[in-house]
Symmetry: C2
């Protein structure tokens, strides 16, 4: 399996709008096993994303799904900066 742990920051005041866009498109990703969007309670602009996919290829392919590509296009202008980007190899637990 293929996992990602990432963070990025919205432009001031745009975090909720950005989260709304991202939440709406998760149903368009059939090979996504887990995709959790979280606020950083210590930083009003910061978002954390933790993802589990069956493979790196599934994740890469998802970026081409029309609904996902459209979300990315709408989301980019709301993003001020990218932070952590960690690739993981999920092996067990629950919720996956």
């Amino acid at each position: 399996m293929y996992g990602l742990i990432g963070s990025f920051s919205a432009h001031p005041g745009k975090r909720d709008e950005l989260i709304g866009l991202m939440t709406a498109s998760t149903s368009a990703m059939p090979e996504c096993i887990s995709y959790i969007i979280a606020k950083d309670p210590q930083d009003a602009d910061k978002i954390w994303i933790t993802e589990v996919w069956d493979s790196a290829e599934s994740h890469k392919a998802s970026l081409q799904i029309p609904a996902v590509a459209e979300t990315i296009k709408k989301a980019m202008p709301l993003i001020a900066s990218f932070g952590q980007h960690t690739i993981t190899e999920p092996v067990g637990g629950m919720g996956m």
Copy 2:
């Protein structure tokens, strides 16, 4: 909701044993919404954990569940060091 993103490192050669312990105890945590254990593909000793709980109190209470406390007791000697510890506020997505 209450989320955690954490990393820690096993003593050399002990990562699989540590993951096995952790995986076995996840079924003992009824108020845990998501608990994903992952290897770091770039560091043979490193483990990433991403968790979602309904509240901080549920997470704290889980540490007192006998099966979980027993796992922690067995796991501690296998852990060489703790790394990232980020508290998040999960708000949406899938797998939660």
